[in-house]
């Protein structure tokens, strides 16, 4: 069955394959599960984009401007994807800085804390999405994230010490209508499909040029 869907305003033709439904963990009252994620659109996008890989190429973009000292401001609104320029509904801006114990002014989080924010956000979004797809109702999800770092790396005090985190630990507290193993499986699957988890656990080419 051929079907035309509008993915964020980009018309894509989807040949909808026959799918069997996964086993649903429906609650006793049989009310629909709602974690607020539109899984149908994601599943359609997966199918459509596997047939149109060019449309799947995205470029995320951030501009950064130095303010003073270790303080800079990053802002973003535009990104490229689905074959064209896209836009967030507003410009988002973030200050980054170093804390006062570094003799800085603490105008914003440190860059490395943004990385923990990114990882947590990505994993939590994934937990919600996987839970929706598997028919599991989430009641509450919170996490604490800790990244350990030996400062002698960035201070250049010891070449055997890396600049970045020596390890990151994420601890989730999840209340959901599911067994402990099913909840662990949500978190495991979220990591498997997480962009930031991949960025942090695997190498990425970074090119920095001066124009």
């Amino acid at each position: 069955m051929l079907k035309s869907i509008n993915l964020l305003g980009f018309p894509i033709h989807v040949h909808r394959a026959v799918r069997t439904t996964k086993e649903n963990h429906m609650s006793v009252t049989d009310t629909p599960i709602d974690n607020g994620v539109n899984v149908d659109v994601l599943l359609e996008a997966r199918e459509a984009l596997s047939n149109a890989p060019e449309a799947a190429q995205f470029t995320w973009r951030v501009t950064n401007t130095w303010k003073n000292g270790t303080h800079s401001e990053s802002s973003l609104q535009q990104f490229f994807g689905l074959g064209g320029e896209q836009s967030h509904k507003t410009t988002f801006s973030y200050d980054a800085d170093h804390p006062e114990i570094f003799a800085s002014e603490d105008n914003g989080p440190t860059p490395v804390e943004f990385v923990l924010v990114a990882l947590a956000s990505c994993l939590t979004a994934g937990v919600a999405t996987v839970a929706q797809n598997r028919g599991i109702q989430l009641n509450s999800v919170s996490a604490t994230i800790e990244g350990d770092m030996d400062l002698r790396g960035i201070l250049g005090a010891d070449s055997d010490v890396r600049n970045g985190y020596s390890g990151i630990k994420v601890s989730y507290d999840i209340d959901a209508d599911a067994s402990p193993d099913d909840i662990k499986a949500l978190v495991a699957q979220s990591q498997k499909r997480s962009a930031v988890y991949d960025i942090v656990t695997n190498p990425t080419n970074v090119t920095v040029e001066v124009r």
Binding site: T20, K22, D181, A188, K192, Y197, T201, N202, P203
Partner: protein, 423 residues
């Protein structure tokens, strides 16, 4: 040019099962084999290799195990004997030492070119196997020249390797088997582990393959599975065929002294980089094993077996150290050899019919190549059922495909009768 109704390419167990089913339906055919029957088993397997499935499970049309060790696991030589015997039993019309160089559409049939001449056929069955060419990741290009590298196709036994450390990349069945025997030979092994499928050899006293068969998991059809693409790409279960029915999982390897690291993610300046995701891939495998055992226990209970067999149990979670190594200097001399146990892929370079997808795989619907009427494929993982991956699956697949082929030929001859220009 000789003409036949069906050309079967490949005289492995799948091609021979097709031959037997074609014979049963009186379809004249030939089986073209580039080497001898069971060629790949003869030429490209390591010394200690045994099948992952017990002897009783090698069931083919017209053949069942009649020996005295049904729960044992065949060695390579025994597999060659099995396939050889089977070819004789079914009197398969095998043309050995005949390498196919091209298959192309020709009117409403096919021309199959070989190094022994051409054949014209109404139908063609690709039974050339799923594991013709080793898959080696692109990072292999950056391995320093001082390190020896090989794939399982070249590996025979630990004695062929230099003394020194060995990095085994890949933790499916081949990877864990080689990691075990190479480490035991006194060559310290580091094993790079990506996503894998953990399985015990024996559960509640029965072989895991017995459970896969008895519960009906092996008979699950390709159109009953939620994500068939994913199911077809799953790595092999971490099993070994051994007389002791040993389970070699990652915990067993750790106990032996093997070092586990994450998936190889890159090689930079002679240093191998491993993913920081080892803990999660182990968690994923443990959870998946738990679900398999839950399914088995539910079936056993419903089938009234609980009183007759050992009670359910669960296996210890895979141990992962707090901080697995993220890098390994390949220039230090610590690693003498890398074994790429990273899988195989089929070779379709001789297939001149445009039926390959973006990844170079044949597009098919349960073995029927819809885009090329009269073309079939067999001997692929989860072709039609989960057991298609095993010797045990070839029979049902062959029966199904021959039934389709017979119907196709009937249609075709009706069409030819009304369109005389085609003959």
């Amino acid at each position: 040019m000789p003409t036949t109704t069906t050309v079967v390419i490949g005289a492995g167990h799948a091609g021979l099962a097709m031959s037997r089913c074609l014979t049963e339906r009186s379809i004249d055919h030939v089986v073209l084999e580039r080497g001898e029957v069971a060629n790949t088993w003869r030429a490209e397997r390591w010394d200690s290799l045994r099948l992952l499935t017990p002897n009783w499970q090698a069931r083919l049309p017209g053949y069942a195990y009649a020996g005295d060790d049904p729960d044992g696991y065949r060695s390579v030589n025994e597999v060659v004997d099995l396939v050889d015997d089977y070819a004789r039993t079914v009197a398969a019309p095998v043309h050995a030492h005949t390498t196919v160089t091209s298959v192309r559409r020709d009117g409403d049939g096919y021309t199959v070119a070989t190094d022994q001449g051409e054949w014209r056929a109404a139908t063609v069955v690709l039974a050339s196997g799923a594991c013709n060419v080793p898959v080696v990741p692109a990072v292999a290009e950056a391995v320093p020249a001082t390190v020896t590298t090989l794939t399982p196709a070249q590996y025979r036994n630990p004695g062929q390797l230099e003394e020194g450390g060995v990095l085994v990349v890949g933790a499916a069945a081949t990877g864990i088997q080689l990691a075990d025997e190479i480490h035991r030979s006194g060559r310290p092994v580091t094993l790079a582990v990506g996503e894998h499928v953990r399985a015990p050899r024996v559960y509640r006293g029965m072989d895991i393959q017995w459970w896969m068969d008895a519960t009906g998991l092996n008979d699950m059809r390709y159109d009953e599975v939620d994500d068939i693409v994913r199911a077809r790409r799953l790595p092999s279960m971490q099993l070994i065929g051994s007389a002791e029915r040993a389970t070699i999982d990652l915990n067993a390897l750790t106990a032996l002294g093997v070092t586990l690291v994450g998936r190889i993610a890159g090689i930079r300046d002679g240093t191998a980089q491993f993913a920081g995701s080892l803990r999660n891939v182990c968690a994923l495998a443990d959870l998946k094993l738990g679900r398999l055992l839950d399914t088995i226990d539910e079936w056993a209970g419903a089938s009234g077996l609980d009183d007759e067999i050992e009670p359910p149990r669960r296996f210890a979670p895979t141990e992962v150290v707090a901080a697995p190594p993220l890098g390994l200097d390949l220039t230090s001399g610590e690693i003498a050899t890398i074994v790429w146990a990273t899988g195989f892929r089929p070779d379709y370079s001789w297939l001149d019919v445009p039926v390959l997808d973006r990844k170079g795989m044949v597009r098919h619907d349960g073995g029927v190549v819809d885009e090329a009427p009269g073309l079939y494929i067999i001997g692929l993982p989860f072709l039609r059922r989960r057991k298609s991956t095993l010797i045990d699956g070839a029979g049902d697949d062959a029966r199904d495909l021959v039934a389709h082929l017979v119907a196709y030929l009937d249609d075709r001859s009706r069409h030819r009768a009304t369109s005389p220009g085609l003959s």
